[in-house]
C-alpha cells in the first residue's frame, strides 16, 4: 500500500496540526468545517492532547489566547460567521504578539448566509477583521495536500514571527477528498522566553498582555510590530505561476477558484488565447511584486473570486492600476464553472488587444 491516504480537506488540516506538534484544539461546530473538531475529538485523547468543545466561538478563541501565552502550539477552526465572533480575541492575540493558528473554512454570507463554499472573508482575513493596526499571515491552500502542508507551515511561521496565522480555506476544499501524503514533521523548536510557564522563583514574571497605559509605549510597540511585518513581506511571500512565460493575459485566483481557473486557462490556450495564471498562496503578504512584474508584459488581468470582488483591489494596488483588471465572480455559495471563466478570458482578449 502507498504512503498516501485518502482524506477530506478538514481531516488533513487536523492530522497535519497534530503532526506539527499541536496538542491543544478549541472549537465550536459549524458547517462546513465540523470534521476538524470531530477528528480532533477522536485523536487528541489518544495522544495525550486536549480537545475541548467550547461553549462558543468567543470562548474558544480566548482559550487559544491562554494556551498561546503558555508557549504551546494551539489551533481553533470555524467557518465565516464563527470567525466573525472570534475577531475580538484575534486582535488581542495579535496585540499580545502570540503565535496561534486560526482556520477559516469559508461559507457564503453575509450574516448567517449559507453552508456552501465562498471566498468572501478575504477582506476580513487580510485587512484585519478585528480592531486596530495588525496583520495576520494568511495562507490559501488549493488542494487537500496543501491543506496539510500549509497547516504545518502556518504553525512554523506563527512561531517564527510571533504573529497569529490564518489558514483561509473554503467549504469545497474542506469537504472534498483527495490523496494526501502526511510528512513526518519534526516541529521547528522556537525558544519562547516570553511564555508564561511559571518562574520557579528563578526569574522575573513574564506578562502577556495587550493593554498599554502609556500611549508612547503603545505607539513604539506598534511600530516595532510593523517592522516585523515588513520582514514577513520581504521573506515569506508565496505564489504559483502557471503558463505565464508567454502570457498576454493574466488570471489571478487563489484557493478553489484557482483550480477552476486552471481548467479555463487550458481551454483558452486551446482556443489560441495566450493566458496564464498567478495564484497567490500567501494572501498576506500579497505577491505584489510578482503581479507588478507581470503587468509589464501582459495586456490585462482578470481576477476570479467567490465573492463580489475583494482581492481585485489588491491586484489593482499591486499593479498601480497600469492595466485593466476585470472581475469574474460568483457569490453566495456558487462557484464559477471553467466555461464561465473561459468566457471572461475570451471577452477580455477581444476588448483589450
Amino acid at each position: 500500500m502507498k504512503d498516501k491516504v485518502l482524506m477530506k480537506g478538514n481531516e488533513a488540516i487536523a492530522e497535519a496540526a497534530i503532526k506539527a506538534g499541536c496538542r491543544h484544539y478549541f472549537g465550536y461546530p459549524i458547517t462546513p468545517q465540523t470534521e476538524i473538531a470531530a477528528y480532533m475529538a477522536k485523536r487528541m485523547p489518544k495522544i495525550g492532547g486536549t480537545f475541548l468543545q467550547a461553549e462558543s466561538e468567543i470562548a474558544a478563541i480566548n482559550m487559544v489566547y491562554g494556551v498561546a501565552a503558555c508557549g504551546l502550539r494551539v489551533m481553533t477552526s470555524s467557518s465565516s460567521p464563527g470567525v466573525s465572533l472570534k475577531q475580538e480575541g484575534i486582535s488581542y492575540i495579535a496585540g499580545a504578539d502570540l503565535p496561534a493558528l486560526i482556520v477559516n473554512v469559508q461559507r457564503g454570507g453575509p450574516g448567517l448566509g449559507g453552508i456552501q463554499p465562498s471566498q468572501s472573508d478575504y477582506f476580513q482575513a487580510t485587512k484585519g477583521g478585528g480592531h486596530c493596526d495588525y496583520h495576520l499571515i494568511v495562507l490559501a491552500p488549493a488542494s487537500v495536500q496543501e491543506m496539510a502542508d500549509l497547516t504545518i507551515k502556518g504553525f512554523d511561521l506563527a512561531d517564527k514571527y510571533r504573529v497569529p496565522t490564518m489558514l483561509l480555506s473554503d467549504g469545497t476544499l474542506g469537504q472534498m477528498m483527495e490523496p494526501v501524503e502526511l510528512p513526518d514533521v519534526t516541529p521547528v523548536k522556537v525558544e519562547k522566553p516570553w511564555a508564561v510557564t511559571g518562574t520557579k522563583n528563578e526569574r522575573e514574571h513574564n506578562i502577556v498582555n495587550s493593554l498599554y497605559l502609556k500611549p508612547e509605549i503603545l505607539e513604539k510597540t506598534n511600530i516595532e510590530r510593523y517592522e516585523r511585518y515588513a520582514l514577513i513581506e520581504k521573506e515569506e511571500v508565496m505564489y504559483e505561476e502557471f503558463m505565464m512565460d508567454d502570457a498576454e493575459y493574466c488570471v489571478v485566483a487563489y484557493g478553489i477558484a484557482s483550480r477552476v481557473s486552471k481548467n479555463a486557462v487550458l481551454k483558452a490556450r486551446a482556443e489560441g488565447v495566450k493566458v496564464g495564471l498567478i495564484r497567490p498562496i500567501t494572501l498576506w503578504p500579497f505577491p505584489a511584486d510578482a503581479l507588478k512584474k507581470a503587468s509589464d508584459k501582459v495586456k490585462a488581468f482578470v481576477t476570479v473570486e467567490l465573492s463580489m470582488g475583494q482581492m481585485i483591489e489588491d491586484v489593482r494596488l499591486a499593479i498601480e492600476c497600469k492595466k485593466p483588471v476585470v472581475l469574474c465572480n460568483r457569490t453566495g455559495g456558487m462557484i464559477p464553472t471553467p466555461e464561465e471563466v473561459l468566457e471572461s478570458i475570451i471577452n477580455l482578449a477581444k476588448e483589450v488587444k
Binding site: K2, K8, G108, M176, E178, G333
Partner: protein, 224 residues
Amino acid sequence: MDNYTPKRVTLFAGHYGSGKTNIAVNFALWLKSKVLNVKIADLDIVNPYFRTKDSARVLDNAGITLISSKYANTNVDLPALPEQTYGLVQRRDSYAVLDVGGDDRGAYALGRYAPYILEENDYEMVFVANFYRPLTANAEEALEVMREIEGACGIKFTAIVNNSNLGNITTADDVRATLSEAEKLSDLSGLPVIFTSVDEKINVNENNVLKLTLQEKYFDIKEN
C-alpha cells in the same frame, strides 16, 4: 457480480468518506439491469455536501426513483428525511437501495426504519471499507467502526464491500494491495466480501468487481 443475488433491501454504511454514495448509486444502476423497480434513498442527515442528489440526472435517466431530502444541496442545513422513505420499508413493492450517513453519527437516522427492515428480513447490510482512509487503515480499526454503526442503527452487518481507493490516482496495484486486508476483516467479522468496487477506468482482473462510473468535478484539473 454475476453470481450475486440481490436482497430486496440493500443498505450501504461505513466510515464517512469511504465511498458509500458512489457505490449506492452504481449498485442501484446495476440492480436496475436485473430487476424492474429500483428506488434509492439518501439517509445522510449529517453531511450536507456531495450527496446522492448529485447523481439525480443519471438516476432519472435510468428510471430509478430517488428519494432525497428536499434540502439536500441547498443552504438549509436541516437534518430532515422525506416521508416517502417509510414507503420503501413498509410497502415492499420495489427493490430498495439505502445510502446511510457516515459513521455511527450518520447511522442513527437508520434506526427508525430498522424494525421494518428486520421484520421483513430480506436485506443486505453492507459495510463499505476503504483501507486508504486514515481512521480505518486496517481490519481492526474498520471492525471498530462496524460495531459502532451497528450499535447506532440496530442492524447488524451481513456483508463487506472493499472500496479501497486513493481518488483519481488509484492504480490496480493499489486496489490489489488491500485485498488481504479485506479478507482479514472478513475473517474477523465472519462476513463475506461480496464485491470489490473499482473506478471503471482501472483494469483489475479480479472476480466480483463492481465497476464504478464516477462524476467528474469542476475542480478536477486536467493537465495536458
